[in-house]
């Protein structure tokens, strides 16, 4: 694959030569160059730490599904009960991840409002938080989209499972149709199995749907936050334009009144 050229070494050399030319002494230059190699331990905000933890859980969920994938799909390796238990575990896992994402989402707003109250006290404009808020919404959206993609993958596995089950039920039905007149009990059990199948296949798409709803809600919030980053700039422009217009219109008004007063005085003097 095509490579890119890493110029960081060149940059460091340039820095060294310029530092010398600017008269920095040896220790200072060494300190600057060292900061390149050894980065300060990164201080992450609590939000980012929480987001990374959620990402960890989603990754664990993905690995779990991968591990049990063969067992789940292949009808001969596991019993119905084992498959049901796998499904149950997965749905519990998905639920926890969803809750974590919800907590993160609500936390954005909490931090936002608390930030606003502080800014009010210090009498500074609130613009500085807009990008951070949009970024946090973006993080939550990415998490939600990842969860949704994993859930849809799992739904597809479910579809395969039920397809097999449905196919198994069909030939059985044909056999029972022959004997239906003689054994009403058998007919009842068959009908029961049928209705159960219908229910389960109807539930087929439900798992991904809830997560999809959450993703769409979060996407809406994200789009709004990104809009806000643009609107603040536009709002500033509008304000400065309005101020300009205001001052120019004031000038005209004053001039107008001035001219009128002098014309009245002139007419008065003339008469």
């Amino acid at each position: 694959m095509a490579r890119s050229r890493d110029r960081t070494e060149d940059f460091k050399d340039t820095v060294r030569s310029i530092a010398l030319s600017l008269g920095y002494n040896e220790s200072k230059t060494a300190a600057i160059l060292a900061s390149f190699i050894m980065h300060k331990p990164r201080q992450r905000s609590t939000f980012t730490k929480a987001a990374l933890r959620t990402l960890e859980s989603i990754k664990t969920l993905e690995q779990f599904i991968l591990k049990h994938r063969k067992d789940y799909v292949d009808p001969h390796r596991t019993t119905e009960q084992e498959r049901d238990s796998i499904e149950h575990e997965v749905s519990v896992f998905i639920k926890t991840c969803k809750e974590q994402i919800d907590i993160l989402k609500n936390r954005i707003h909490d931090e936002d409002t608390s930030g606003k109250s502080k800014a009010w006290l210090t009498m500074r404009s609130d613009n500085s938080h807009v990008d951070i808020v949009a970024h946090k919404h973006g993080v939550v959206l990415i998490l939600s989209e990842k969860l949704h993609s994993i859930t849809s993958q799992f739904d597809q596995l479910r579809a395969i499972r039920f397809q097999d089950a449905v196919n198994k039920a069909m030939p059985r039905r044909k056999m029972h149709q022959v004997t239906n007149s003689n054994s009403p009990n058998l007919l009842d059990t068959v009908q029961e199995t049928e209705t159960k199948m219908v229910e389960m296949s109807a539930l087929n798409h439900l798992m991904a749907t809830h997560v999809l709803q959450q993703t769409q809600q979060i996407e809406l919030l994200y789009e709004q936050a990104v809009e806000a980053t643009k609107n603040v700039e536009m709002g500033n422009k509008e304000i400065s334009q309005a101020v300009q217009r205001n001052s120019s219109s004031r000038t005209f008004l004053l001039l107008f009144l001035f001219v009128l007063t002098f014309s009245i005085l002139f007419l008065d003097w003339y008469n």
Partner: protein, 618 residues
């Protein structure tokens, strides 16, 4: 080794978004997962045909900004900068670093950052004591825009004007050649190939070819070069051929009207960076994307317009049939197939229907989109009678002659001013010699229609100066036709020429013919005089070694001065002939006929050939 430029550029960008780390690094929590992308206008144009905004999120990009926009701090997130290396961008980066907008800065320059600017960056960050924020500096060599899998553009405006400007100094021309060479170098670096370069003698093509050869040689010698082709020792059948041409080689292609779908959409509706805006049916402007994700566009872009309309019809009928079938199976209508007792069968059909729903909606969306586009196109075609322009121009170029009354009637008929001007210029270019009276009549007709004849005068001038404007005519007439004309006069010549046009599907462009000959490598009088450069060969050339002329399977064709989709389509046709070849087409900028004629007008004005001072076609 099929050269898919789009894929390679996309993978380079994805690698950049992953902070230039090797792609298979295992996911540990310490890695930087979320990042912010900052780009400038030029790099935004590079990114937009390749990656959609939604896909950015897949790589962990939460926000993306233009570098000039006022941005606010986001404390603990790394930022990926993808910008051109210009002074203002460097100043902006230094300002951002000193304001500590982001946690760490990963700087990626679209081509190599020159030493002085690197020093500016270093001194700026040293003085503001923000140097610890700069994490990495990379040269990406991605300074070109890939529009299709095998088509790229360098987005360098007004190259043709600057190169053909009579008042241009040596310094100016050198600068332009430098820029073109740098863009071509980026393309070759992304493809990671060192091609054999061929170009016609004289003109900008030779200058660009020799400068590029020099640059490649210097680069290969230096350590850490980007072109390590492991394994084979550069045997010719692995290396592609790079053919460089100048627009003056075949001027008519940039001007003529074409009637195929893709060139029509570009020329008439203004396709830019694969995005198109048309008036929707309800009056509101709609914007569409025409790229890989649209299967109809990919499959039918090179068909003539009437066939496209038929194709849309067919797709619509197929779609309706499929929808009816789905409805029948699931009892949407009272179809005989629905059996209320067959519960399990119904559930299966229901499941299938639900699964096929998104696919059907997609198809409908695409059909609607192309119906809309085709309707708007049809309106324009009818209004300007573009079909007759395209046909008559093609005839003129193929036969090399036209009836005088015909051309005058066209110039007095329908069509915008630019259409008429283009037609007149094609008339100039297709005829070997134009009788003076005819020329005067044509110019009079143009003036009647209030067309600014600057461009016409310019082409007349350079034709009279005998600049080689490509022997378009000699292409389509075979020896038989020549002989027939000489012996039996005009009428039979016309008949046999007509027959030849029936036999050969399309008149082949001179460019396509030449590229074919170059790729074949057989001795051919047309390409005898072409120069050949091999950056890998030692300087002391022991005659052109035979393997350099062998048949090539892959070619990169570069047109200096402006290209369009018609040339691209023609080259793709060549590539799909047997045996299958692979051709990549590139140009300094993609121009519609009207835009190119504007550049000719500018040149005419610079030469002082402008007729009336009024009516600048803006």
């Amino acid at each position: 080794m099929a050269l898919n430029l789009r894929q390679k550029q996309t993978s380079c960008i994805i690698r950049m978004l992953n902070l230039n780390q090797p792609l298979n690094s295992s996911g540990n929590v310490d890695e930087e997962v979320y990042k912010i992308l900052v780009y400038d206008k030029f790099c935004q144009n590079i990114l937009s045909p390749l990656i959609h905004v939604k896909e950015l999120r897949k790589y962990g990009v939460t926000l993306y900004f233009l570098i000039d926009k006022e941005r606010r701090p986001v404390p603990d997130v790394p930022a990926v900068y993808f910008v051109q290396s210009t002074k203002s961008n460097i100043q902006r980066i230094v300002a951002d670093a000193s304001a500590s907008l982001y946690e760490s800065f990963h700087l990626n320059f679209s081509s190599s950052i020159p030493r002085p600017l690197l020093e500016d960056l270093a001194s700026g960050t040293l003085k503001t004591e923000s140097i610890q924020r700069i994490s990495k500096v990379h040269d990406q060599y991605l300074e070109f825009i890939t529009l299709e899998d095998s088509m790229f553009s360098l987005a360098q405006k007004s190259c043709y004007v600057q190169l053909n400007d009579p008042s241009a100094g040596d310094r100016d021309i050198e600068e332009i050649v430098e820029k073109i060479v740098s863009g071509l170098f980026c393309v070759l670096a992304t493809l990671a190939v060192v091609p054999i370069i061929r170009c016609p003698r004289g003109g900008p093509a030779e200058m660009v070819a020799s400068a590029l050869d020099l640059r490649l040689r210097d680069h290969i010698i230096s350590k850490n070069n980007l072109f390590t082709e492991g394994g084979n020792l550069g045997s010719s059948f692995q290396r592609p051929i790079l053919c460089i041409f100048d627009r003056n080689f075949e001027l008519s292609v940039g001007i003529q009207h074409d009637f195929r779908y893709r060139p029509l959409v570009h020329d008439v509706l203004g396709l830019k960076l694969n995005k198109l805006t048309v008036q929707g049916e309800k009056g509101a402007p709609k914007s569409y994307e025409m790229d890989n994700s649209d299967p109809f566009w990919m499959a039918n872009g090179s068909l003539e317009f009437p066939e496209v309309a038929v194709e849309i019809e067919t797709q619509l009928n197929k779609y309706k049939k499929d929808v009816d079938e789905v409805n029948k199976r699931t009892g949407g209508q009272d179809g005989a197939d629905f059996d209320s007792q067959d519960l399990i069968g119904n559930t299966k059909h229901l499941m299938n229907a639900v699964n096929s729903l998104p696919e059907l909606t997609e198809r409908k969306k695409i059909i609607d989109k192309h119906t809309n586009i085709a309707t708007v196109l049809l309106g324009e075609i009818k209004e300007r009678s573009l079909d007759s322009y395209a046909k008559k121009e093609n005839d003129m170029l193929a036969k090399g002659s036209i009836d005088r009354n015909e051309i005058l009637s066209v110039l007095r008929g329908k069509g915008s001013k630019v259409d008429k001007l283009r037609f007149a210029i094609i008339y100039l270019l297709s005829l070997e010699t134009t009788p003076h009276s005819d020329l005067e009549a044509v110019e009079a007709a143009l003036r009647e229609s209030e067309v600014d004849t600057c461009a016409f005068q310019y082409v007349k001038k350079i034709k009279s100066l005998n600049v080689s404007l490509a022997s378009v005519n000699s292409a389509s007439r075979s020896n038989i036709v020549d002989w027939a004309e000489k012996l039996y006069g005009q009428s039979i010549g016309a008949v046999t020429a007509g027959m030849k046009n029936l036999l050969s599907s399309d008149r082949q462009l001179a460019l396509t013919r030449t590229v074919d000959a170059l790729m074949e490598g057989k001795p051919n009088p047309e390409i005898e005089s072409y120069l050949i450069f091999d950056p890998r060969a030692p300087k002391s050339n022991s005659g052109a070694s035979s393997h350099l002329k062998g048949p090539f399977k892959e070619a990169i064709v570069f047109m200096i001065g402006g290209g369009n989709y018609m040339e691209y389509g023609s080259l793709q046709e060549l590539a799909h002939q047997q045996p299958a070849k692979h051709v990549i087409y590139g140009t300094t900028e993609v121009l519609t006929g009207a835009e190119f004629v504007e550049q000719l007008t500018l040149l005419g004005q610079k030469m002082g050939l402008g007729g009336s001072a009024a009516s600048l076609s803006h």
